[in-house]
């Protein structure tokens, strides 16, 4: 039985855990900085305590690691709840923004900005807006191609996602290839990662993440109803067409924002909701809030691992998540007879 109190308690606990994980990650890296020092550096503007750290350490913490980790948490949040929403909408536990091609669609939008960037400088938000436009076109395309009658069966959905994703990826490569000078930069960005992202990227993604999280948390009940099919949901008084469009737009928004700041980081939307469902059940009233924190924790940890494992070199985060995520996807596909 669902209890609001459980959700609040679990969310509060996870919020604390997320803060701890972020704090721990800020200290980790090529130069390890102790927790005491990290806390002191971060709280200095409020406490005005005597400085017992070097200016270099303060710059690493405040200017490099902290924005990167906050950004990682936000990207994790966006991807995780996009996955959860898509899975409820398609009534299909295999749905994920990357597998369905939204990430590649958004990436195509971003590549256009990189290649022809200067042409339309719409400030900071050119990148996410163009990503969003392409992301949303992709998801509607995949949805309509995969739809048979009133249902979206798993096989046609995955196939249409894979095919459209491959097509977009090809156009993307073509543009990179012919685009010339920025090839390596785009390539690195496409592999997905948070390396070298500063505070301005946080301002790009933050509004999208906020809108997405707040809307989806309030839509828990509708998402629950949609899990039993559009007809069922309609009988429960849900304006199905409207809700469906809102969810698709929100998902495209969240994914595109994530892609715009961090490139393609796949499988987070698949792994996180799945694990969360195993822990707290499929009720979206708890699944969404818990996925918010689980997504944040997962991506922060994964990024820290990517920073540290081959230090001083860095593993692109997208490669890491694909390395974990793809086998996980295959495992799900094999055990799909079982319950999720």
């Amino acid at each position: 039985m669902y209890k609001r109190r459980d959700t609040v308690i679990i969310s509060a606990g996870l919020f604390l855990l997320t803060l701890i994980v972020m704090l721990f990650s800020v200290g980790m890296g090529e130069s390890n900085i102790g927790a005491e020092k990290v806390i002191a550096i971060l709280t200095e503007p409020f406490t005005h305590q005597a400085q017992f750290w070097t200016d270099g350490e303060a710059t690493i913490i405040r200017g490099i690691r902290l924005p990167r980790i906050i950004l990682g948490a936000l990207v994790g949040i966006c991807l995780a709840i996009s996955g959860a929403a898509l899975q409820s909408l398609f009534r299909n536990p295999m749905a994920d923004p990357f597998i369905l091609g939204i990430s590649n669609g958004a990436a195509l939008g971003a590549t256009i900005v990189f290649v022809y960037g200067a042409a339309w400088a719409l400030s900071l938000y050119t990148l996410p807006i163009l990503s969003f436009i392409f992301g949303i076109i992709t998801i509607f395309l995949v949805y309509n191609v995969g739809k048979i009658g009133n249902r979206v069966p798993v096989n046609t959905l995955l196939l249409s996602g894979i095919a459209i994703s491959a097509f977009l990826s090809a156009i993307n490569s073509f543009m990179m290839f012919t685009g010339g000078q920025n090839f390596e930069q785009i390539m690195f960005w496409m592999m997905g990662g948070l390396s070298g992202r500063g505070w301005n990227y946080i301002w790009i993604i933050l509004p999208f993440a906020l809108i997405g999280v707040i809307s989806m948390i309030t839509m828990g009940r509708s998402m629950n109803a949609l899990m039993f099919g559009e007809e069922s949901a309609q009988y429960l008084g849900i304006e199905v067409e409207k809700q469906k469009k809102i969810l698709l737009v929100l998902t495209a928004l969240l994914t595109s924002a994530a892609v715009a700041v961090s490139g393609i980081i796949g499988f987070v939307g698949l792994i996180i909701p799945h694990i969360v469902r195993l822990l707290v059940g499929p009720d979206h009233r708890i699944l969404i809030p818990v996925s918010v924190f689980a997504g944040a924790i997962f991506l922060v940890l994964a990024d820290t691992f990517a920073r540290v494992v081959m230090s001083p070199a860095e593993l692109p985060l997208g490669i890491l998540t694909a390395m974990c995520g793809a086998p996980f996807f295959l495992y799900l596909l094999r055990s799909k007879r079982g319950e999720l």
């Binding site: 039985m1 669902y2 609001r4 839509m219 429960l236 008084g237 009720d283 319950e339």
Partner: protein, 411 residues
């Protein structure tokens, strides 16, 4: 607050209309059963009436309000629908699924209230699903799921409850319990129910709507609408009717119509009883043979079936020995008949004369002896006389095992 369906049309593709012109009314506090052959648009009609599909023509009105003008949330407070089946890959708890029935009454982010919890528990109890409340929805069997779906519909507290074949996955006890529950619910609700089991429809539905090919063929009180004749027309089967256990509602037995018909004016007299002969009587009648029957005691199932098709019957009062007058009648009928069909039944002194008379014709007429189990296992309450007669039939008459073989012999 009756539901009025006026001239609705609907097609999934423009070229093919599933509903062509449907008109009917569902009265308040009644169970209205919708019956009709497969693929005639019953489920589609229900989806239109429930407001999920929008008709391309016509209107559906609940209590004079066109449902096209009612917002979905308000509609969800007025009516609940139990679909044939729902599917989800996720292991959602049964209790929370039933709680979804409360969602039309809840704001988006509002927690479930105590009242909601009470209503959900009550609904689970009513649908006999309380024992599943902690299980997962995708782990239930078909029958269990059906009861849980009904609980969810009840939690919506609708004025109209619409069910699409609600008993299709239930065992016989739960079928009867559900139909009883629906009957009780009519105190405060109106119920529309697609139903395949005609005898259930006859026993429980107050009104019946017969649909076929996208039209409503007939509607009205079930006693008036449901008849063997109407069912034969709609379903293309042979139907026999007899009074049900409560003595008021009709029950029906069905069989496939004979494949061949005869043009020759043949006359056959059937001697039977205990309901053993009704299929033969119906089939021969339907194949164009002039059938007579008897001697049958009034109230015998064969008598009721034969009466329902209006053939000549020699009848005796219930539970009494056949009198000389009836035996004379029987000889007259046998004289007129081209063939006499004798169906094996239990024999006592009451009906013994049926077989004594038939035996007289063994050398004069074509006699077919229908003996369903090759070894005669019928009760002989006549100190061996009946067995003697049966052995006589077995050796001298043409023997058939079932209705099909009788038809083969005759046509």
């Amino acid at each position: 607050m009756p539901i009025e369906v006026k001239g609705i049309k609907f097609g999934y593709h423009e070229s093919r209309e599933v509903l062509k012109d449907m008109n009917f009314t569902c009265r308040d506090n009644r169970i209205t059963g919708i019956i009709g052959p497969n693929g005639c648009g019953k489920t589609t009609a229900m989806k239109v009436i429930a407001g999920y599909l929008h008709p391309s023509g016509g209107t559906v009105k609940y209590n004079d309000t066109d449902i096209g003008e009612v917002p979905p949330v308000e509609l969800a407070k007025m009516r609940a629908v139990v679909e044939q089946r729902i599917y989800t890959p996720f292991s959602f708890p049964v209790y929370d699924y039933v709680m979804l029935g409360r969602s039309p009454y809840q704001k988006n982010f509002q927690p479930d209230s105590n009242e909601d919890h009470m209503i959900v528990t009550e609904s689970l109890k009513d649908a006999d699903a309380l024992q599943f409340q902690d299980r997962k929805i995708n782990e239930l069997s078909g029958g269990e799921l059906q009861r849980v779906m009904i609980a969810r519909a009840l939690a919506q507290e609708p004025g109209y409850l619409m069910l699409d074949e609600p008993t299709s996955h239930l065992d016989i006890k739960h079928q009867l319990e559900l139909m009883d529950l629906l009957s009780n619910l009519t105190r405060e609700k109106s119920i529309i129910c697609i139903i395949h089991e005609i005898n259930q429809a006859s026993s429980y539905c107050d009104d019946i709507v017969i649909t076929k090919d996208g039209y409503v063929l007939n509607q009205g009180k079930s006693k008036e609408v449901l008849s063997a004749e109407a069912l034969e027309d709609v379903f293309g089967v042979l139907a026999m009717q007899y009074p049900g256990p409560d003595g008021k509602r009709m029950q029906f037995a069905f069989s496939l119509p004979p494949e061949r018909k005869t043009e020759a004016r043949k006359r056959v007299h059937v001697i039977s009883g205990e309901g053993m002969g009704r299929q033969i009587i119906m089939s021969l009648h339907s194949a164009g043979v002039e059938v007579t029957a008897g001697i049958l005691n009034q109230g015998d199932q064969d008598y009721e079936s034969a009466k329902s098709i209006g053939i000549d019957i020699i009848h005796a009062p219930p539970f009494s020995k056949y009198s000389d007058r009836e035996n004379v009648e029987l000889r007259k009928m046998c004289d007129l008949a081209d063939t006499i069909v004798v169906v094996a039944t239990n024999v006592g002194y009451g009906n013994l004369s049926n077989f004594e008379v038939a035996a007289e014709y063994l050398d004069r007429k074509e006699v077919i002896f229908v003996n369903p189990n090759k070894n005669l296992k019928k009760l002989d309450l006549t100190n061996g006389r009946a067995t003697e007669l049966y052995n006589l039939f077995q050796s001298k008459a043409r023997v058939a095992e079932n209705t099909g073989e009788v038809l083969e012999e005759l046509l």
